[in-house]
């Protein structure tokens, strides 16, 4: 152990060892920072999404929520509120309208806020004897603050007009205007009798740990008609945005991890090369191979331990610094990150190191003891075995981080492609230079590089990989992020209007025109109950998945015409033929409900059975905020069915007057404000941008590690070469010119290939993984070629100028 420690301590002075430590530390730091940030972001967004529930967790039931659940919440010190919602008629004088009554206990809402018109001040549950209604109900009843409104047996004073309730967006299917009363008034209302269609909710809030514990306790005890509500599941827009942000982060972590792996491999090679003599002596002195391997791997484990601590601290510090920087854009109560991210990062970093350095150290332990007498002997090491091991370790990491095969394949393929292409193309170019310009400095430089083809190949590949990572993180990610941002800004719809009757189209258009807004695009919406799946009656109880059961229970919104929109993408099957009956199903719901291409589905639409085969499956960009449907049909199937119309539109703040106007003119139309959800998605985007800036620095650091290690890889050979050339009379100037030509060639070729690969990978990731269309960046290859050549030349010359001026005898002594 002491010997191990002494060797480990001594290694601190070796540059290759420091490069190895640096690469592992950077990998662990990057993965830790990304992991911590992703976990914090997830918790934060879950918390934010909870404001859409008005709570951290909600039990919803079709009967009063059993007392036991409230008691469990009380035992854990959770805040509680109760809601009862049901439809009822509201009257004021001669006017009457069907309203959705919500009776709330005073603690409601536990998360988010009630907003009161006209200025959006924070409101509260009305006092007993009072009520608040939304603008639509006020318009329908022609009521104003202070008026008396009757609901059931109650005659309540209208205290204020409700502008927004936090959980309003979740009641997407609710078409009735809102009436909010205090739960204390409910018993006297006489509205809740046997058979009333009421929904009961128990809302709870507390720390994440308390909530998780409560959910775990409650979940197995849920009875018939009782379930836990999940905001993210209810709003696919937020889920989609969150998933896309996570993919961005994962992609960045992938790049940092892969780069670090390349750096590790190069540094391990150099480290091993420098230790051949030492191992030969130890073996000559009688150390067995097992003992040597034990010493080498022991040192590796100490290195991993050190890198894990350093990387963990660095990652943790960087993440904490980022959160401090963007604090003003975050809610006051920022959740803590999940520390297990560090554990995972350390494990992944170790796997990469073992993959990259393991084979080299194994080979090192097999150094023949005869090397003490014959220095030319080296251990039998297969370069291909090394590359394969590293490729496997990296592939494992990519897959684990990406969480999906396609992203892993594209990122990994891009990296591997860059390595091979840069290596191959570089060798070809160098061969060309050697052939066509044999006499000049460039020719001499090409000959020097080509004497070590395998090393030149690896060096070119590593340089290209380093630059590719940097480009992916700078130019390409910023292109992708801009594409996403541009989609989420400007005219993204923030309102939906549903239940529009076909004969109201012109009136609606006139209202929009009156506000100077474009004519809305209307889409038919037909409600249908799913009856048969391949001729078999649909039985919700058959689905083991809770979500699938609920989907199967409810009515579907169907639509037709212009079905395959811009933000829908066909993933299987063929486009709908409008003249034949056919259905198109969103692929997510198809998976949940077990619907396959070619299956026959039958719906009951207002008493008529409509049936057709599934002709295609499509992916929907839910975060586009445009009208989308789980199931659409061909014109031939649904055109004759009774339909209402639906539209989504962007309402700028100055045109807010349209909503009350619209409700008054077309009282049957329901307008739903999704601005809050849009805000959530934009917050995800903001956080993702901030997070990317953090990861970017790690990727640059990893890229530098690769460049450093790639240039280091040939140092022994350079020293020997410099000694011989100097001894043979080459001037320092001549040596510098040869090296300059050599590094310009290497860097330029690697840079050019990295540029092409980065543009291509970015274009592919945008298209296939993130569904964001970006153009192929044509300038990048040229820019990359120039920067690659310059970086390589500056780095090489800085390092080599020492060699050019050192007397040959000293160089030979150094080398020995």
């Amino acid at each position: 152990m002491r010997l191990l420690w002494r060797l480990f301590r001594r290694d601190w002075h070796a540059r290759a060892w420091r490069t190895l430590l640096y690469a592992v530390t950077i990998a662990i730091a990057a993965l830790t920072a990304v992991g911590l940030l992703a976990s914090r972001m997830e918790r934060l967004l879950a918390f934010e999404a909870n404001s859409l529930l008005a709570a951290d967790a909600v039990i919803v039931a079709d009967h009063p929520v059993p007392e036991a659940f409230a008691r469990m919440a009380a035992t854990r010190g959770l805040q509680q509120a109760a809601l009862t919602t049901f439809p009822s008629m509201a009257r004021k004088g001669e006017s009457a309208a069907l309203a959705s009554v919500k009776a709330a206990t005073p603690a409601y809402p536990l998360r988010g806020q009630l907003k009161i018109a006209p200025q959006g001040q924070v409101g509260a549950v009305p006092q007993p004897g009072e009520m608040v209604v939304d603008a639509r109900l006020a318009a329908l009843l022609d009521a104003q603050s202070g008026d008396a409104v009757q609901v059931g047996n109650l005659n309540l004073k209208l205290a204020a007009i409700l502008e927004r309730e936090p959980d309003g967006a979740l009641d997407f299917s609710g078409t009735q205007p809102r009436l909010l009363i205090n739960a204390a008034d409910l018993p006297a209302s006489g509205l809740l009798g046997f058979g009333s269609r009421a929904r009961y909710r128990l809302l709870v809030a507390g720390t994440p740990a308390q909530i998780s514990a409560w959910i775990a306790e409650v979940k197995p005890k849920l009875g018939r008609g009782e379930r836990l509500e999940d905001a993210r599941e209810a709003r696919p827009e937020i889920k989609a945005a969150l998933e896309r942000a996570e993919r961005f982060l994962r992609l960045s972590a992938l790049v940092a991890g892969s780069l670090a792996a390349v750096a590790m491999l190069l540094a391990a090679r150099r480290y091993a090369t420098r230790r051949f003599d030492e191992v030969a002596i130890l073996r000559a002195l009688g150390a067995t191979r097992k003992r040597i391997a034990g010493l080498l791997f022991g040192q590796l484990l100490l290195l991993i331990a050190l890198a894990s601590v350093l990387g963990g601290l660095l990652g943790w510090g960087a993440e904490a610094a980022l959160i401090t920087l963007v604090r003003d854009r975050l809610p006051a109560n920022v959740p803590l990150p999940d520390w297990r991210a560090w554990l995972l990062a350390a494990t992944l970093g170790s796997a990469l190191l073992l993959g990259g350095a393991g084979p080299m150290l194994h080979a090192l332990s097999r150094t023949p003891p005869l090397r003490v007498l014959r220095r030319e002997l080296t251990p039998p090491a297969s370069v291909w075995l090394l590359w394969c091991t590293l490729a496997l370790a990296t592939a494992g990491l990519l897959w684990l981080l990406a969480g999906e095969v396609k992203l892993a394949l594209i990122a990994g393929g891009g990296m591997l492609g860059a390595l091979l292409l840069a290596g191959g193309a570089g060798l070809l170019i160098l061969l060309g230079v050697r052939r066509f310009a044999p006499g000049g400095t460039a020719g001499l430089a090409a000959r020097q590089v080509l004497r070590r083809k395998a090393l030149a190949f690896a060096q070119l590949g590593a340089l290209a990989a380093g630059l590719l990572g940097v480009w992916l993180l700078t130019v390409v990610e910023s292109d992708l992020l801009s594409a996403w941002k541009s989609r989420m800004s400007g005219d993204v719809p923030n309102h939906f209007a549903i239940n529009i009757q076909p004969d109201q189209q012109e009136k609606l258009a006139a209202l929009f025109a009156g506000q100077g807004l474009a004519r809305p695009v209307l889409q038919p919406m037909i409600r249908g109950r799913w009856m048969l799946h391949n001729g078999q009656p649909v039985d919700p109880a058959r689905y083991p998945d809770d979500r699938a059961r609920r989907l199967a229970e409810r009515e579907f919104n169907l639509s037709w015409g212009d079905a395959l929109r811009k933000d829908n993408r066909l993933v299987a099957g063929s486009p709908l033929d409008e003249s034949k009956p056919g259905l198109s199903v969103e692929d997510g719901i198809a998976k949940t409900l077990g619907i396959r291409l070619g299956d026959r589905l039958a719906f009951d639409v207002a008493g008529t059975r409509v049936e057709a085969p599934v002709v295609n499956l499509r992916a929907v960009e839910w975060d586009s905020f445009r009208v989308n449907f789980f199931v659409t049909a061909s014109r031939a199937l649904l055109a004759d069915q009774p339909a209402s119309l639906i539209t989504s539109f962007n309402l700028p703040p100055q045109n807010r007057g349209l909503v009350p106007q619209l409700v008054r003119t077309l009282p049957n139309v329901t307008v739903i404000d999704v601005g809050q959800i849009l805000g959530e998605v934009q917050r995800v985007l903001d956080l993702a941008s901030a997070a990317l800036r953090l990861v970017f620095f790690f990727c640059i650091a990893a890229g530098i590690a690769v460049l450093w290690a790639a240039l280091d890889a040939t140092e022994s050979e350079r020293t020997r070469e410099a000694a011989v050339m100097r001894a043979l009379g080459a001037s320092a100037r001549r040596l510098r010119r040869v090296w300059l030509a050599e590094s310009l060639l290497l860097g330029g070729v690697a840079g050019g290939v990295a540029g092409v690969m980065a543009s291509l990978t970015g274009w592919l990731v945008g298209r296939e993984v993130l569904q964001l269309a970006i153009a192929f960046n044509l300038w990048l290859p040229l820019l990359s070629c120039i920067i690659g050549a310059l970086v390589s030349a500056v780095a090489a010359l800085r390092r080599l100028s020492r060699l050019a001026h050192t007397p040959p005898v000293d160089l030979l002594r150094d080398e020995g």
Partner: protein, 228 residues
């Protein structure tokens, strides 16, 4: 003892006999100089005798143990138990101090009852014996060639080997320094009773050994006891 020792190296086109039918028997405690022209196979013979390389034919017995019966790790164990080495290029680990270099073989093969403080003391004693008691914490870079070779001698003798192999031990040193190192080598050898097998070009050095083995083009041309 070497028995009909031979080494053949095969290349793509032909095979080359580097050593051919070498047999000799050296008594314990004796000193042997292996001499011959460059390329005559001296270093190859040393490597085979020390178990650093394996012969194509024949076998080597060290202190009664046949090397041919051992695998690589078995030979390593035997080297640790029986042998010590001194090389032309010293082969000290550049980042370890003189004291750490001498301790290396002691630490590498832990023996029951040998504590760390005992190892440390032993290494110090040996460095004192070679006249470097005041250079314990110096690294090889801070030592002259002669001093480095003296550290190498201390390292070779510290574990108490039965057989010491030396490959051109004065080959990298000037004649005066080489003389001093050679004196020290023979003095320590006499004091410890170690068997010494020495490869050298230096006839004066060879003449100080009890026995001389001469190789010519891989063949044994002479194995004689030198009468002083």
């Amino acid at each position: 003892m070497a028995q009909r020792l031979g080494k053949t190296v095969s290349t793509e086109y032909h095979s080359l006999d580097i050593l051919h039918e070498i047999s000799f028997d050296l008594p314990a405690g004796a000193t042997l100089a292996v001499v011959g022209a460059s390329g005559s196979g001296k270093s190859t013979l040393l490597a085979l005798l020390a178990g650093l390389d394996t012969p194509s034919r024949g076998d080597v017995h060290l202190a009664g143990q046949a090397l041919g019966a051992l695998d690589e790790d078995g030979r390593a164990q035997l080297r640790a138990d029986l042998t010590g080495f001194v090389f032309q290029s010293f082969q000290l680990l550049p980042d370890l101090t003189a004291l750490e270099n001498v301790m290396l073989p002691l630490e590498l093969i832990p023996r029951p009852g040998r504590s760390r403080s005992a190892m440390l003391q032993k290494a110090r004693d040996w460095l004192e014996r070679v006249g470097l008691g005041d250079r314990l914490e110096h690294t090889p870079r801070q030592l002259s060639g002669g001093e480095q070779q003296r550290v190498a001698l201390a390292r070779a003798f510290a574990p108490g080997p039965q057989i010491l192999f030396a490959d051109e031990p004065t080959g990298s040193l000037d004649s005066a320094t080489g003389e001093r190192v050679a004196n020290l080598l023979f003095e320590l050898n006499r004091a410890t009773g170690t068997t010494l097998i020495l490869v050298t070009h230096d006839e004066k050095l060879a003449a100080r050994c009890d026995w001389r083995l001469r190789l010519e083009a891989g063949r044994l041309s002479e194995f004689v006891r030198v009468v002083a």
